[in-house]
């Protein structure tokens, strides 16, 4: 059984074809990069996988189950977390509350137990405390302790990106979709992102699907790479193959 497989994924918006018959497979524990110039359909692929778009055609399989067409929250509950290209945080909430939303699916308290939270022994309070303790190490890991109680809307761009990653990690996903982790960063920060991705894969039993505009970083990190251009797959293989693939070189040179 393949861990994660995309089969013939196609997405059309009106007359525009954003994804054209894209297929690939990801094994457990891999870092899999999707590269391609602007507008090549990378983020559209993520939106299809996480259920925000309903694909026009094709199937997505996760741990043997077909998940294409499921609502986003059901896909989230199956263990797929993601970050967004343009940062989609809960802006008025604090960092810790953003992370606690990552814990949403692992918690149970409903309306009544929430309302009746009296004292630290009540079930809702116990669950809160337990889960707050669980996310605390993520804050440490991503160096967010200092902004723990600040509303994330006030934080600088780079920190917001880290909060978004932290929130995805709080979900304890099996598959993590990371969209442009190094966007808007300088060379040093980019290198740090690379180190962090490797660390995450090492420390947490996680498979990472990575979209990255910066080709060197994307290829350097990956176990396997898929290259897209205008929504079509042009190459898929090991990093060295992709680096020397004539179509990939052409796509990037053509892009300028």
């Amino acid at each position: 059984m393949t861990f994660f497989a995309v089969d013939g994924l196609t997405m059309r918006f009106g007359g525009l074809t954003a994804l054209d018959n894209v297929s690939f497979e990801v094994d457990r524990g891999m870092i899999f990069s999707i590269i391609g110039p602007n507008g090549s359909g990378k983020s559209t692929a993520f939106n299809c996988i996480s259920g925000i778009y309903q694909p026009t055609a094709g199937e997505i399989h996760f741990e043997g189950e077909c998940i294409s067409g499921l609502a986003p929250h059901l896909i989230g509950r199956r263990g797929i977390a993601r970050t967004f290209q343009n940062i989609e945080l809960f802006g008025t909430e604090s960092t810790i509350d953003n992370l606690m939303l990552g814990r949403h699916q692992h918690m149970k308290s409903g309306l009544w137990s929430g309302v009746a939270m009296l004292g630290s022994a009540s079930s809702a309070a116990r669950e809160e405390i337990e889960n707050r303790e669980r996310v605390e190490w993520i804050l440490e890991l991503l160096d967010l302790v200092r902004v723990r109680d600040r509303p994330v809307g006030e934080l600088p761009y780079g920190t917001q990106k880290r909060v978004e990653l932290a929130r995805a990690l709080a979900m304890e996903p099996k598959l993590l979709l990371v969209d442009e982790p190094s966007a808007g960063m300088n060379a040093d920060e980019r290198a740090e992102v690379g180190v962090r991705m490797r660390e995450l894969r090492g420390e947490l039993d996680m498979t990472i699907l990575l979209i990255e505009h910066h080709v060197q970083l994307a290829i350097g990190l990956a176990d396997r790479v898929l290259a897209l251009n205008f929504g079509k797959p042009i190459a898929c293989g090991a990093p060295e193959e992709i680096r020397q693939h004539p179509e990939v070189i052409k796509a990037y040179l053509g892009d300028g």
Binding site: S43, N47, I52, F84, Q85, N86, E88
Partner: protein
């Protein structure tokens, strides 16, 4: 019987169509559903009333004054209130129009009291003409004609005048319009002015039918929204058709099902349309991009 019902439906529908059109042209431009539309029109009707009774002017002067007032009120509301918001989220914009409507409602009540006043009008609601077996009041005939003429004028304005085209361009893509030299700020203000005038015509036609008091346009506002939802909040033609359709459906319901619950029809239509076709019968759906 059926023809009679259709005639009354058309007459009521004319008012709904005007309100719907007024709501839709501002909604298209600014994405603000203007809940103050009804009370802005109500105050304008009171202005006409003031001219007619206090100043003893003729109808032309009084109605002219009311429309000029309505235009200024619309432009003023946009320029002095809506545009000055610090955090113009959708929710805040809606709340702002609600606050404004409450203030207008209070002002009208303060100035003119809650008494129901008879509104003088050149044609009467009780005088009846017979047209092919159907008896309609002269007021209904006037309502249908005036509304139709006004709507034709408005659509022609959008279609054929330079200003109207500039307004449409602003509705479609404000940034592109500005780049192409359209003074978008002035255009948005103007849109509110025109929309307010259309609404006041509806109010001037409603006041003689019922009586004039500060709640004059509550019902018409809801019906205008229902019509706009029915036809599509983004499609002026659809909204107008929705207005006529609502008028007819409502009167059919009143004639054959229940008179008491006629007003509930509008709500039911809103719910049903939104459930099955959220963008209206004639509209297209937009999705948010991530």
């Amino acid at each position: 019987m059926l023809l009679q019902v259709l005639a009354s439906g058309l007459s009521a529908g004319s008012i709904y169509a005007l309100m719907a059109l007024a709501l839709v042209i501002t909604y298209k431009t600014t994405e603000v559903p203007n809940f103050a539309q009804g009370d802005m029109a109500m105050v304008s009707a009171f202005i006409a009333y003031m001219f007619l009774t206090d100043f003893q002017t003729g109808f032309i002067v009084a109605f002219g004054a009311a429309l000029v007032f309505a235009f200024l009120l619309g432009v003023g509301f946009e320029g002095l209130v809506l545009r000055r918001m610090r955090n113009p989220t959708h929710l805040n914009l809606i709340i702002m129009t609600l606050g404004f409507t409450l203030a207008l409602f209070g002002l009208a009540g303060w100035k003119w009291g809650a008494d129901q006043r008879r509104f003088p009008f050149p044609v009467s609601a009780s005088e009846v003409v017979r047209l092919g077996g159907v008896s309609v009041s002269t007021l209904s005939v006037a309502t249908i004609l005036i509304a139709a003429v006004l709507m034709v004028v408005v659509f022609a304005f959008f279609r054929f005048t330079k200003l109207g085209i500039a307004m449409q361009a602003t509705q479609q893509d404000p940034i592109a319009a500005r780049i192409n030299g359209v003074p978008t700020r002035a255009v948005v203000g103007l849109t509110f002015g025109i929309s307010s005038v259309i609404g006041s015509v509806a109010a001037l036609l409603t006041a003689p039918l019922i009586t004039l008091d500060p709640t004059l346009m509550w019902d018409a506002l809801l019906k205008g929204f229902a019509a706009a939802v029915l036809g599509g909040l983004n499609t002026p033609v659809g909204a107008v058709l929705g207005g006529y359709l609502l008028g007819v459906i409502e009167n059919l319901f009143g004639a054959y099902v229940s008179v008491e619950f006629k007003s509930v029809v509008a709500f039911l239509i809103i719910v049903i349309v939104l459930w099955f076709r959220p963008s209206g019968l004639f509209g297209r759906h937009h999705e948010r991009k991530v």
